[in-house]
């Protein structure tokens, strides 16, 4: 700020002297310029979306399931997600039946994480023996631990199942969430199909 202000400072023009045509030109120029700024912003915003490389990384995974011992779970990586394959024993399947009244969505009706048609049954699987599910909690994406046997986890009580370490959601041995837990949905079932009796393809369920 100067200390020697000139006496003949700028004067605001009175309204009669406003050049209407020039004002219109300024407004049009500002609008066109604004559109240009929006257009220029588009590629910056778009750069946040997954890159072509990230999209291509989602290729299906083949897994040989013949060597999984009964009652055990293996974890395979598909699209960077942990996919669980649990070979259920007859007792485990029995526990799933027993849990029907205790789970929030026994028949997988909710659509947030749609369960594929072929898994929309009590055991949530094509073959009751093998549970194939994404081991990511539908609450905020942690990976639950388990399977715990009945009575071995305080949070599960007398049911066997999985427990999410982050916010305490619990799931039965079909990946169905128990009632009144933070997670709203059952664990997702990834698209998958059996290539033979012992080989399953995760990430692709096309019929052809």
């Amino acid at each position: 700020m100067s200390t020697s202000t000139s006496a003949t400072g700028g004067q605001a023009p009175d309204s009669a002297s406003v050049d209407k045509e020039r004002r219109t030109t300024i407004m049009v120029a500002a609008a066109v310029g604004g559109a240009g700024v929006v257009a220029a912003a588009a590629p910056f915003v778009a750069s946040f979306a997954p890159s072509e490389r990230a999209k291509a990384a989602g290729a299906p995974v083949e897994v040989d399931i013949s060597s999984i011992p009964a009652g055990e779970k293996i974890v395979v990586e598909w699209r960077g997600l942990p996919v669980w394959i649990l070979r259920r024993t007859p007792e485990m399947l029995q526990s799933v039946k027993k849990a029907d009244p205790e789970v929030a969505d026994p028949n997988s009706q909710r659509t947030q994480y749609p369960t594929p048609e072929y898994a929309r049954n009590e055991y949530r699987s094509i073959k009751p023996e093998f549970l194939i599910t994404v081991g990511v909690c539908t609450h905020l994406g942690c990976s639950p631990t388990g399977p715990y046997a009945a009575g071995s986890s305080a949070q599960l009580g007398n049911d066997p199942g999985f427990v999410c370490p982050c916010h305490g959601s619990t799931f039965d041995l079909a990946g169905r969430v128990f009632k009144n837990k933070p997670a709203p949905d059952n664990l997702a079932v990834p698209p998958h199909k059996y290539l033979s009796d012992t080989v399953v393809l995760i990430g692709d369920d096309s019929k052809a």
Binding site: T3, P50, L140, H167, A183
Partner: protein, 460 residues
């Protein structure tokens, strides 16, 4: 412009003739900025926040010289800094301790504002800029925490990014958009690095300038909450004010020295602070296939995180009761037709939302509101006296109840979830929100002490 002879001589005179702004601003903000002379120890935290900011910027620059923002190299590069870079451990521990110190200092700074009504008219903008700074700090801390690419980095980011996934309709796509991948990955690490080292710091610096300029326009509040500008001497200087420099610069330097002693005691002897400043699980490289058995955010986020966890299906009933109670209170005490028309409609919409959308979504909303509600304080607080000194004793007691709720929520947020813990955090969540939501009513009630015309000050 006419040549003007400067009042200064030598080099300063030469500069002053060419750039008078320099000395004008020095006077405006330091040597002739009149601050109330009754500042107490609560007034050191603004200056300390600047000190910590400088520490973070300087150590941050040096960390970037050796850090690699790449999912396959990041964890190892941090360990490289810790073990192989000469002095690297010191720089990194200063930076990690600085993060926690920043929040300690800022929380105390905000508590001061709460105690003395520093956000009241005409200082609303000072407070709003301060709240924006707080949001930036939270962003800065969150983005920075992913960079070491440990287990807590990874799963913390996973949880927080998935919060956005709870938004109806657009949520899942928005989460992918934030991550730049279907899971937290290299793309996420790179963009968080960009936010942490340049985008947010630039915004933060701008906001700090705005915070200080807004403060210096209206002048500082003080423990008595009275305006010192009401009584000025012949030269227009507040009678109860003293120049910031040298009086408060010396005062602040003294306390900065004390602060730095404590700060470096932590850096040297307890940089992990028992797992609170640096979580144990973060010394394990990120593993997308296994979540650690107990994950919790760093301590400064845990009060808000507890509120998120407290929002379960059972809690929705309590939220509904609270919402109906608020609506009834608004309708009964405000006889404005607009209020009477809008409140019932909004209440019904909210209640419908509570029981149709997932509790998970409302948890995210409550967590957001628990931070954003601070912005509303200048308008929620309707007390006739600014400072707690002249407000009814139970006002202060109520504020301390809120402080205890905040700290207790923070403690619960560091612990694994248990049914009892969830119940307690639900009660505390109601206390937290009740304190703010009912403030327009309770802050007017009780017997206020007479507010003095001038500050109370005993020379020492």
């Amino acid at each position: 412009m006419a040549e003007q002879k400067s009042q200064y001589t030598g080099v300063l005179g030469w500069v002053d003739e060419r750039m008078p702004t320099l000395m004008a601003e020095y006077k405006k903000h330091l040597s002739e900025y009149y601050a109330p002379k009754n500042f107490n120890i609560w007034y050191i935290f603004g200056g300390l926040a600047i000190t910590v900011l400088v520490i973070q910027i300087v150590t941050g620059i040096f960390l970037v010289m050796n850090y690699k923002p790449d999912a396959s190299l990041a964890f190892a590069s941090v360990e490289y800094i810790m073990r192989d870079v000469p002095g690297g451990w010191f720089i990194r521990y200063m930076h990690s301790t600085g993060a926690s110190a920043f929040f300690i200092v800022v929380y105390l700074h905000m508590f001061r504002g709460l105690m003395y009504g520093s956000y009241r008219k005409p200082r609303e903008l000072v407070w709003v800029f301060g709240c924006l700074i707080f949001l930036c700090l939270m962003g800065e801390a969150f983005f920075g925490y992913l960079l070491p690419w440990g287990q807590m980095s990874y799963w913390g980011a996973q949880v927080i990014v998935n919060l956005f996934g709870a938004i109806p309709l657009i949520g899942p796509d928005l989460a992918v958009f934030i991550r730049g991948d279907y899971v937290i990955g290299d793309a996420t690490l790179n963009r968080f690095f960009a936010f942490h080292v340049i985008a947010i710091p630039l915004v933060l610096l701008g906001l700090i300038v705005a915070h200080i300029l807004a403060l210096h326009d209206v002048g500082s509040n003080n423990p008595d909450g009275v305006e010192i500008k009401k009584h000025k001497d012949a030269a227009g200087r507040p009678l109860d004010g003293i120049p910031f420099h040298p009086y408060y610069t010396v005062h602040d330097i003294f306390w900065t020295a004390i602060f730095l002693m404590l700060f470096f005691a932590v850096v040297f002897f307890a940089p992990e602070m028992g797992g609170y400043f640096l979580e144990w699980n973060n010394f394990i490289p990120a593993d997308p296939l296994t979540t650690p058995n107990h994950i919790a955010p760093v301590w400064y986020f845990t009060p808000f995180y507890s509120i998120l966890r407290a929002t379960t299906e059972q809690f929705m009933i309590w939220m509904a009761v609270g919402t109906i109670g608020m609506a009834a209170l608004l309708i009964l005490t405000i006889s404005h037709t607009l209020v009477r028309a809008v409140v019932p409609v909004a209440t019904i919409l909210l209640l419908l939302g509570y029981f149709t959308l997932d509790p998970k979504f409302w948890g995210v909303v409550l967590m957001g509101v628990s931070v954003l509600i601070f912005f509303g304080l200048p308008w929620l607080d309707q007390s006739p006296a600014r400072s707690m000194r002249y407000r009814p004793g139970w006002h202060f007691a109520l504020m301390m109840v809120w402080v205890v709720a905040f700290l207790w929520l923070g403690y619960l947020g560091t612990q694994p979830p248990t049914p009892a813990g969830t119940l307690v955090s639900q009660v505390l969540t109601l206390v937290y929100f009740g304190f703010f939501a009912l403030m327009p009513w309770w802050s007017r009630m009780g017997t206020f002490k007479p507010v003095p015309d001038r500050i109370t000050f005993v020379a020492h």
